[in-house]
């Protein structure tokens, strides 16, 4: 039996097709500090329970489903996407909901139950916000508040915003990392955006390594001042399908290697349940090649399955992001 010491770091793994899963360690003090930040952001005025759709094996689910409820001494229910709202939740007057993209579509089917609450805080983390989130908040009226969290397994919470649009504000213990001259030259884009680099006391570390002084996230931003930034998209062709990272360039290359001779493009698309998804476009109408490509697509891991495989039209230049 493995006994987890209370002072031992907690390990979280990155997921998806960006490479082999990597472990990132967070010390209990970092988790406690982030839980306190989240409590101040999401639970001011008091909550009487947390409904979490996020799996606790990931950092967001661990924080919202375990650390925050423990800090506030309130119950937490782990929700399933295909199950109705538990009766306990419908009795809460001030629930805090840790959502994943699909949760908004599910909660929209539970409006009468949710409308019994005095106040409901909906939290969304690090994925493209589905259109249904804004519709749900509008349907719930003034009782609902939407809090978006920007961060990653590697960085923890970086920034937040409310209302589903506008600039992001850095978490109170987070700063933009000072840029060296060579980094400035390398990281700047023609549109004036640059790679987001941050420093905070909550950066995770790899096993056997020290906590890094700063981390670049792969996001392109412009910063009007020292505390806020505007998100322009990602520097690479990464999409987050239900929070799982999928590198479209990497995926395109793998499919092209499996079925040589077909020009392919993977295009990101908004999705009401997953935040964003993608389709594979193949510039061929050869039934044999398409059947081989379909078999190669079906052989992909579940987290990297595309929405659809489309023959023709010819692939367009890769798109960078969909927001």
């Amino acid at each position: 039996m493995t006994v987890h010491r209370p002072d031992a770091p907690v390990a979280f793994a990155t997921s998806g097709s960006t490479g082999p899963p990597q472990q990132w360690l967070r010390d209990p003090a970092q988790i406690d500090a982030e839980a306190r930040l989240l409590t101040a952001l999401c639970a001011d005025g008091g909550i009487d329970g947390v409904l979490s759709y996020a799996p606790p094996r990931h950092l967001y689910g661990h924080l919202m489903g375990l650390a925050v409820p423990r800090l506030l001494d309130v119950p937490c229910l782990q929700a399933g996407l295909t199950a109705p709202l538990a009766r306990t939740v419908t009795r809460w007057r001030r629930p805090l909901v840790a959502a994943v993209p699909a949760a908004f579509a599910v909660l929209a089917r539970c409006l009468p139950e949710l409308a019994r609450a005095e106040r409901i805080v909906l939290v969304h983390s690090s994925a493209v916000l589905p259109a249904g989130a804004r519709e749900l908040v509008a349907a719930l009226g003034e009782r609902a508040r939407l809090v978006e969290l920007f961060g990653s397994t590697e960085t923890g919470l970086i920034a937040t915003r409310s209302g589903g649009a506008g600039e992001w504000t850095l978490a109170e213990d987070t700063r933009f990392a000072p840029e060296q001259e060579q980094e400035q030259a390398r990281d700047r884009r023609p549109d004036g955006s640059r790679l987001l680099r941050v420093t905070s006391p909550r950066l995770a570390r790899r096993p056997g390594e020290e906590v890094p002084a700063a981390t670049a996230t792969g996001d392109l931003v412009t910063a009007p001042d020292e505390r806020t930034f505007h998100w322009h998209g990602r520097a690479n062709r990464l999409v987050k399908v239900n929070g799982v990272r999928v590198d479209l360039d990497h995926l395109t290359a793998r499919l092209a290697a499996a079925v040589p001779g077909v020009a392919l493009a993977c295009r990101a698309e908004p999705d009401p349940l997953r935040g964003e998804w993608f389709s594979v476009h193949a510039a061929t109408d050869d039934p044999g090649l398409l059947a081989r490509l379909a078999a190669a697509v079906r052989a992909l891991p579940a987290a990297e399955q595309p929405r659809a495989l489309h023959p023709l039209p010819a692939p367009a230049p890769p798109t960078r992001e969909v927001r």
Binding site: T82, V106, L273, V297, P306
Partner: protein, 99 residues
């Protein structure tokens, strides 16, 4: 949207074809009773079930209720989904809710 009541066979055929397109995987009539999660495990997870719920509502004009219609049993297979659609269309016809 087509809310016309259908007999089981054409309804199942239409549903099977729509689900095959949705899930990107051919579905055979012989497998109608088999769990979709078993046939297409890489696509028919909880999100796949919700995709199927949206498809049924849009294509067959029947509302699905998370409380009344236990999704674990009603969205188990082509046969169980077809039975749900048929029952809801029959109920709607009795209540005079069909156009």
């Amino acid at each position: 949207m087509n809310a016309t009541p259908a007999t089981a066979a054409p309804l199942r055929d239409r549903l099977r074809e729509a689900l095959a397109t949705l899930l990107g995987h051919p579905l055979a009539a012989a497998d109608d009773e088999v769990s979709l999660a078993e046939i297409v495990p890489e696509r028919y997870d909880s999100l796949g079930v919700l995709d199927a719920v949206g498809l049924v509502e849009k294509e067959f004009g029947v509302p699905v209720d998370l409380v009344v219609d236990d999704l674990r049993s009603t969205f188990f297979s082509v046969a169980t989904i077809a039975a749900l659609i048929e029952r809801k269309q029959r109920d709607a016809a009795v209540l005079g809710l069909l156009p």
